[in-house]
């Protein structure tokens, strides 16, 4: 929901970043206010995951220019775990498997760690069990997933649900969902989207990264951004997603070049 007077959560300006010496992000600007849902769309390889991981603090990416402010503090100064504790959450495109660590053990450890750093109460195993089962209902997940190792042998869709379950538990201010829709069949998509919608409120913000319009039928964005070659080259409302769906991405690039040419 757009409220012009709501406060800015994330302010990215002129962000440039390299990986292994190759420039991937080339001056990215984005402002996200609390209560808003943003969609970042763009062709494969345009840098969407790179941007997501930079926000979460991945060390493989070297920021070479620009700034990222999160609730008034310099996000780039923080270690990944400090960002998580401050309320940044990334749902991964490819969640890892951790054979040997029980999912409930993992969820409880992360939950309690984050709670402690936020000055809140930890939950003991029994309390946590009630808490997490409640959250699992939101995603129609069977409690069996608590007994298994983290993501081990989970289908693509189950891994994505487990990601959103973590989002539900950790209660982030800013959630970045990287291709959460990929690998989901239509029923799973509806469930996951329903969960995300319930988690969205006026104090947090969600950035959906996707290259399909499909997800946006279920989670309606306030803004749609088009990313190309490491930049956001167009921003519009939810109708832009439909236009991208029918016309593809090429015209946006052409229009952008023309506009840049006119400026020069």
């Amino acid at each position: 929901m757009i409220h012009q007077d709501s406060k800015v959560l994330l302010e990215v300006s002129g962000l440039c970043a390299n990986v292994n010496g190759t420039e991937i992000l080339k001056g990215l600007n984005l402002t996200v206010r609390s209560g808003e849902i943003h969609a970042i769309m763009g062709p494969n390889g345009s840098g969407k995951s790179t941007f997501s991981k930079i926000l979460a603090g991945h060390s493989a990416y070297e920021v070479t220019g620009g700034t990222v402010m999160f609730e008034g503090q310099d996000l780039l100064e923080l270690a990944p775990e400090e960002r998580a504790r401050a309320g940044v959450f990334l749902a991964f495109q490819y969640p890892i498997e951790i054979p040997g660590v029980g999912n409930s053990q993992f969820l409880r450890l992360t939950y309690n760690t984050v709670q402690t750093h936020r000055g809140k109460e930890e939950l003991d195993p029994l309390e946590f069990d009630d808490f997490v089962r409640e959250k699992m209902k939101l995603l129609e997940m069977s409690p069996d997933f608590l007994e298994r190792s983290v993501n081990e042998g989970f289908s693509g869709g189950e891994k994505k649900r487990n990601e959103i379950l973590q989002m539900a538990m950790l209660d982030p201010r800013l959630a970045i969902l990287d291709e959460t829709d990929s690998g989901l069949d239509i029923d799973a998509l509806r469930v996951v989207a329903g969960g995300v919608n319930q988690l969205a409120n006026k104090d947090n913000a969600i950035v959906l990264v996707t290259h399909y319009q499909r997800l946006l039928n279920y989670i309606v964005p306030d803004y749609v951004h088009v990313m190309e070659a490491g930049r956001i080259i167009k921003t519009g409302g939810k109708e832009l997603a439909l236009e991208l769906e029918s016309r593809g991405y090429d015209w946006v690039g052409v229009e952008h070049k023309a506009a840049m040419g006119a400026q020069a």
């Binding site: 991981k53 979460a56 060390s59 998580a84 990334l90 040997g100 992360t110 760690t113």
Partner: protein
């Protein structure tokens, strides 16, 4: 004779010195077996780095020290050793420095199963065990197995009769209490046709000085039997541990083994499993070492007959300047059509000085087989560490968790909850101490 061979020979003579004091057995074949083993010790030499089977494992340190068989056994109380007990395993044989300790043991002959020291088992089982004792282990070309056989006396004997499935796990507890002592633990497990049993072979220490454990275990599964074999090597930090285990898995039998090695300055475990038609085995292992430890695991899975299945996952977590060795041979003989064999060896190096030598060895002489194998050596995956950090865990907590998980994947396969819990705690302590 070269100087090194002389040292070698006198070293073995020295080790053999205690042998003549063994009381003769009432069984002629057993006395003959020992005599044969003494002969073999005379003919063999202690392996060096020049032996292909020992090329990564330098045991010269062992040969520079002198060990003697135990002279007087220390009498232990239950309170001294209770902490090693495994809740579920109420049938227990305890050996102190290799000597059977009846007052600490709860031998069983109920439910049809016999768990007792060899001497007590002669009367009832002499005929049954004769084909296996000293026959499954190839001591003729293995000096350590020959030494153990030369000293064959106290022996954990488990005989599970036909069609008996034993619910209570059996705990074989070998406790080292004295320095400079060499002990020769010996186990024989005979699972008759259609029987099932779970056995924990456990090596622990009450002291931290150097000693030498030279163990031999023989396991025979007759048709349709099932044996769960859990081996825990948690010897003292300065111990030498050399062990040979030979398993014969007859038709349609199933051998499941998990072996973990945490202790000893230098350890070597040879496991040979021979599979008959339609037999199955899972052979999993974990070596978790640090400091200057060396842990060497040599396994050989021999698909001798058609349609057997073998699964193996061996992992090493190596910290400090420790050294892990894995040599995993899978042999598929000409006759062994429709063999299904999977082997995986994964190694985690926690420091730049940690070191692993791994050598998977596939020898396939049949054509209709499914065999996969793979080995990896690496550090923790940065993407995995990042994933956990992105959930609020510190870098250290993330690394601890992943290292723990790496080991826990093997520990989880142990079908006894309290032991599993105990060992998970050990892995947790060890892995957080290392980082």
């Amino acid at each position: 004779m070269s100087a090194s061979a002389t040292v070698n020979a006198s070293y073995l003579e020295n080790l053999l010195a205690g042998q003549p004091h063994l009381p003769a057995s009432p069984l002629a074949w057993l006395n003959a077996l020992r005599a044969e083993a003494v002969d073999r010790v005379g003919a063999l030499t202690v392996p060096t780095l020049r032996d292909e089977e020992w090329r990564f494992t330098d045991i010269s340190m062992l040969t520079k020290m002198s060990f003697h068989p135990v002279r007087t056994t220390i009498s232990l109380q239950v309170a001294d050793i209770e902490r090693f007990y495994i809740e579920e395993a109420t049938t227990r044989l305890v050996f102190v420095d290799g000597v059977y300790a009846p007052q600490l043991s709860s031998a069983a002959t109920d439910h049809g199963i016999s768990v007792l020291n060899l001497e007590a088992g002669f009367a009832a089982h002499a005929a049954a065990i004769e084909p296996y004792l000293g026959r499954l282990t190839e001591f003729h070309n293995n000096v350590f197995a020959a030494l153990n056989t030369a000293f064959l006396h106290d022996t954990a004997l488990i005989v599970v009769p036909r069609d008996i499935s034993v619910k209570v796990p059996v705990h074989l507890l070998f406790i080292a209490t004295q320095k400079d002592v060499v002990s020769y633990p010996r186990c024989l497990i005979l699972a008759e046709s259609g029987s099932a049993v779970t056995v924990i072979e456990d090596y622990v220490s009450l002291q931290e000085d150097a000693y030498f454990t030279n163990a031999v275990t023989e396991i025979a599964l007759v048709d349709n039997a099932r044996v769960n074999h859990i081996r825990v090597q948690r010897e003292g930090a300065k111990a030498f541990h050399i062990a040979n285990c030979a398993v014969s898995v007859a038709r349609a039998s199933n051998y499941q083994s998990v072996s973990v090695a945490f202790g000893a300055r230098i350890s070597r475990y040879n496991l040979n499993v021979k599979l008959a038609e339609g037999a199955e085995c899972a052979v999993d292992g974990l070596a978790l070492i640090s400091g200057r430890q060396l842990a060497d695991t040599h396994t050989c899975i021999d698909h001798a007959k058609p349609q057997a299945i073998s699964n193996q996952m061996h992992k090493c977590i190596v910290g400090g300047s420790a050294h892990a060795v894995f040599n995993g041979k899978v042999m598929v003989r000409q006759d062994a059509q429709r063999t299904d064999s999977k082997q995986s060896n994964r190694n985690l190096l926690l420091t730049s000085k940690a070191h692993v030598d791994t050598k998977p060895q596939l020898e396939i002489f049949a054509d209709d087989v499914k065999c996969t194998h793979g080995a990896t050596i690496g550090q923790l995956d940065d993407e995995e560490v990042f994933y956990l950090q992105s959930r609020g865990l510190s870098d250290t907590a993330a690394r601890n968790m992943l290292t723990y998980a790496f080991g826990a994947e093997i520990i989880e396969r142990i079908p006894i909850s309290s032991l599993k819990y105990q060992l998970e705690q050990t892995v947790l302590e060890q892995t957080s101490a290392q980082l």
